[in-house]
Amino acid sequence: MMGFLKEMISRFLKSLQQYFIGLTRAGSHQTWMTFFVVGTGIFLFYLIYLATLIAPDLELVQEQFQKLSTTYERGDLRDFLRRKDVLRNEVARTLKVNRSQHAQMIATNISVYLFPELLPDRDFEKHEALSAWLPLQKKIESNPGTQESRIAFEEMKATFWNYESPDRSSPRLSETARQVLEIYDRLSSKKQE
């Protein structure tokens, strides 16, 4: 048995030796090149995979969210949608990777008012958001600065207040809801340039 194993190992080592001797011969640089390219590719892929496992900086996410309200000041809808998409990716990554309860809460709250599709299906707020205010936001984004978008904004504002406001004597909204209203207030009152 031992003899058989020894023979197997020696055959394997021999074939490996012959293979590497072959690589040192002239004209074998193409094989080396292939090795290099494939190796680098695998390494880069691994780095990208690692990056997805690292949660985005929470402060950065919050900063991007706050900036979204001023993004449309120049009336550049494309820029607004691009930045919103970047924020969406960051929020999605936070929800997926960041295990801190605080980070989850912030990302969930942003998702409720901007990206409800990111919430799990069993979240009671998801379908409420998808049916109650997401269509209004799409309406404003498709035609900013028009009377139609302004009506949609007013409807969204009332919906947010009735959905959330907990205190009649001193009415208030959560910071996230307030900021989303600020974003769409700008978008619905200024025409695209």
């Binding site: 809460m105 009671f124 707020e125 379908h127 409420e128 207040w161 009735n162 907990p166 009649r168």
Partner: protein, 304 residues
């Protein structure tokens, strides 16, 4: 003569019958235990008190309001008549509606008329409450407009807190309008919560859902959704179903300040969540004491 002994012959059971018997019995037993263990009767006529306010202290307060003339007899009569009619048309338990108004304004339909308040009258309505009734009623209740006409004779919208014409049917300070409008808003909350549960195929006890609707009326539907999400995270799907299907579990939850605090903490800052949770618990305990039959509360055995 020898008597012939009768031979008892058993029919030979077939394998199919035997299998059905062996599998069917435990299946029937489990189903029965599950159903009767988790479901209470869907309508319980004795849960809400017919003699509201049910609590002794609230009755004393009502007596005090009457004797001090803070609640005028004719106003109380109008409130009562409209309320009875409205609750029957909208299918809202009468004690729930009365107790909600008592809790919000002590049945003072002119509350806040002289100051710069942001909420008005009998059901403490806000600007956005009016917006929903005036422009979004159809989104919740397709029959809303029809109910409004049935109850008030005509579509009196837009409704607002008009101070100058107190007997104008479009003024929220006009008693029938205040009662009907607030009841429609409460009905909307009930429909909203029902829809959310239907989407996830979760059955519920209707009386428990009315109490959650009162919660949504007072602190917004988001507070209720957050509480349900929190309960599911804490006790799983079974725990959430227990809360929605069992009156006892619901009453028990009103003593669980941690549940209210944590669920509101998902929306608000720590400090704000603590204050709001306390407010909501007090509000719900008062509504429960006012609307639920005292015998039910005593048999529950908690400290409510």
């Amino acid at each position: 003569m020898a008597r012939r002994r009768k031979k008892i012959v058993f029919a030979r059971p077939s394998w199919t019958k035997l299998t059905l018997l062996v599998l069917g019995f435990p299946l029937a037993l489990t189903t029965g235990l599950w159903f009767f263990g988790t479901h209470e009767p869907f309508t319980d006529p004795n849960f809400f008190s017919r003699n509201y306010p049910a609590s002794e202290s609230l009755r004393e307060e009502l007596y005090y309001l009457r004797t001090m003339d803070r609640l005028k007899h004719e106003d109380e009569l109008t409130i009562q008549q409209t309320l009875t009619h409205t609750s029957s048309v909208l299918n809202i338990p009468e004690p729930i509606l009365w107790c909600l108004f008592f809790q919000e304004s002590r049945l003072n339909h002119l509350l806040g008329i002289g100051d710069e308040r942001t909420s008005y009258g009998l059901g403490q309505f806000t600007y956005f409450g009016f917006y929903e009734i005036n422009y979004q009623l159809h989104q919740f209740n397709r029959e809303g407009k029809q109910h409004l006409i049935e109850l008030l004779g005509t579509d009196i919208r837009p409704i607002g807190p008009t101070k100058t014409e107190l007997f104008n049917p479009s003024s929220y300070y006009y008693i029938p309008t205040a009662v009907v409008t607030s009841a429609l808003f409460l009905k909307d909350r009930n429909i909203q919560l029902q829809r959310a549960l239907a989407r996830q195929n979760i059955s519920f006890d209707p009386e428990v859902l009315w109490l959650f609707s009162v919660m949504a009326y007072n602190k917004g539907s988001r507070a209720v959704f957050s509480l349900w999400n929190q309960e599911r995270q804490r006790s799983g799907q079974k725990g959430l179903k227990r809360l929605l299907q069992s009156k006892t579990e619901f009453l028990r939850s009103l003593e669980d300040s941690a549940l209210f605090h944590t669920s509101l903490g998902r929306i608000w800052s720590e400090k704000a969540a603590r204050g709001l949770a306390h407010e909501l618990l007090v509000h719900m305990r008062n509504i429960t004491a006012c609307a639920v039959e005292p015998q039910v509360l005593r048999s529950y055995g908690g400290s409510l």
